[in-house]
């Protein structure tokens, strides 16, 4: 999706999203749609979206370092930010889900078999609902970079996967949060699939000393902006 039209002849808004077919990312080869997309008018289904305020989540769901009996290995970090719409309005009671590799760069997933250790005290999955100001916060371990088979000597920059829903079906977003200054950015076709440099920068968290807790954890800030085409949402 390179552009989307505003409703009723409104201005086209450039979206930062990657193309589907990115040859440097091999997995897209047989999975990327080839036919042109059809512009979907904003009907009833697009103006609404799933809500998750009814879920009972606990503080342990948002603290990935406390989900087992012992402490996970690695650099403890706090990741916090706000989930906002395109006009900067906070999204409240909005579900945020994250998943990631452990400090050694290994996922707790049967398909990840690369030679790095699993951590019995780290699963790498968390979730929370945003507060009234749209804010969320996770405590976790800084994930390691890891190799993958896309091309010779291919490594993914360290990242945390994020899933958010926004206010309506049109807002649904899955993305990845990266860490500032990663030397692997230049070599990663997934990060590089976002062509616009300023848009790529919006996937990179920033170190925040204010958020860091003395003697405990470094803080990284990461705001997420979902920007569906609903200019004036009619759904609270």
């Amino acid at each position: 999706m390179t552009s989307r039209s505003g409703e009723a002849g409104g201005p086209a808004i450039l979206t930062p999203d990657p193309a589907y077919d990115v040859p440097a990312y091999r997995s897209s080869g047989k999975r990327a749609p080839i036919q042109p997309l059809h512009q979907l008018p904003l009907g009833a289904t697009e103006r609404h979206g799933p809500t998750f305020g009814h879920l009972s989540l606990t503080s342990v769901d948002a603290d990935l370092t406390r989900q087992h009996t012992g402490e996970p290995i690695g650099e403890r970090i706090i990741v916090s930010g706000r989930v906002l719409d395109g006009a900067g309005r906070p999204l409240r009671q909005s579900l945020v889900e994250i998943w990631q590799a452990n400090a050694a760069g290994r996922y707790d997933h049967p398909v990840d078999q690369h030679p790095a250790p699993l951590d019995p005290n780290f699963s790498g999955a968390g979730r929370c609902l945003t507060e009234d100001d749209g804010s969320y916060q996770f405590t976790t371990i800084k994930p390691g970079a890891y190799p993958w088979g896309n091309h010779p000597n291919a490594w993914r920059p360290a990242h945390i996967h994020f899933s958010v829903f926004g206010r309506a079906f049109t807002d649904r977003l899955v993305t990845q949060m990266y860490f500032p200054g990663d030397p692997l950015f230049a070599y990663d076709p997934i990060f590089g699939s976002v062509r616009d440099e300023s848009a790529r920068a919006r996937m990179v968290s920033s170190f925040d000393l204010e958020l860091s807790r003395p003697e405990w954890a470094l803080g990284y800030r990461f705001d997420i902006v979902v920007s569906g085409p609903l200019a004036t949402p009619d759904v609270p």
């Binding site: 999706m1 989307r4 409703e7 979206t15 930062p16 999203d17 990657p18 589907y20 990115v22 997995s27 080869g29 047989k30 999975r31 990327a32 749609p33 080839i34 059809h38 979907l40 008018p41 904003l42 009907g43 009833a44 289904t45 697009e46 609404h48 979206g49 799933p50 809500t51 009814h54 906002l84 395109g86 006009a87 900067g88 889900e97 994250i98 998943w99 996922y107 997933h109 398909v111 790498g124 999955a125 979730r127 996967h161 899933s163 079906f169 649904r172 899955v174 993305t175 990845q176 997934i190 699939s193 976002v194 300023s198 919006r202 996937m203 997420i224 902006v225 979902v226 920007s227 569906g228």
Partner: protein
Amino acid sequence: MSGATPSQTVGPFFSFGLRWLESTQLVGTDHPERVVIQGSVLDGAGTGVPDALVETFQADSAGEFGPVPERDWYGFGRILTNDEGQFAFTTVKPGPLTGSDGTMGAPHLSVSVFARGLLQRVITRIYFPDEELANQLDPVLKTIAPERRSTLVARAADGGLWFDIHLQGEDETVFFNC
């Protein structure tokens, strides 16, 4: 306006992060109008995609969107495909839906598919085969070339409905931009 956060692929390893909210029974097993919808997510070679995430969103049979906690109605489905790339869920056909121009649209579900290899989700719709007249008049289906329209309509099979999602290839499903 602040710039939107770009999409990135869900990758191959999402199951341990997203399965906790898997939702394949959108209505109770005793719901009189329940329908099982199953299908496959297929790549351009026709091979099932075993690491796809299918999410659905819809109104209930009265055309009402959730949440309606008193009858446990949220309208959200999340299904992880199995080793063969198949998915299945139980829901109800939504009531008629008002289109953007005020016209009544044919009943449908909105669907997102995420997978390794998809840098952003694909968006499609599932329409119902027993709604022939409503489908003919549907403001979205009408805009689609007749030869591709059928990719958006489930077919009756095995006492329920079958809906394949072809990410690519000769039978590529119609995908939307919204």
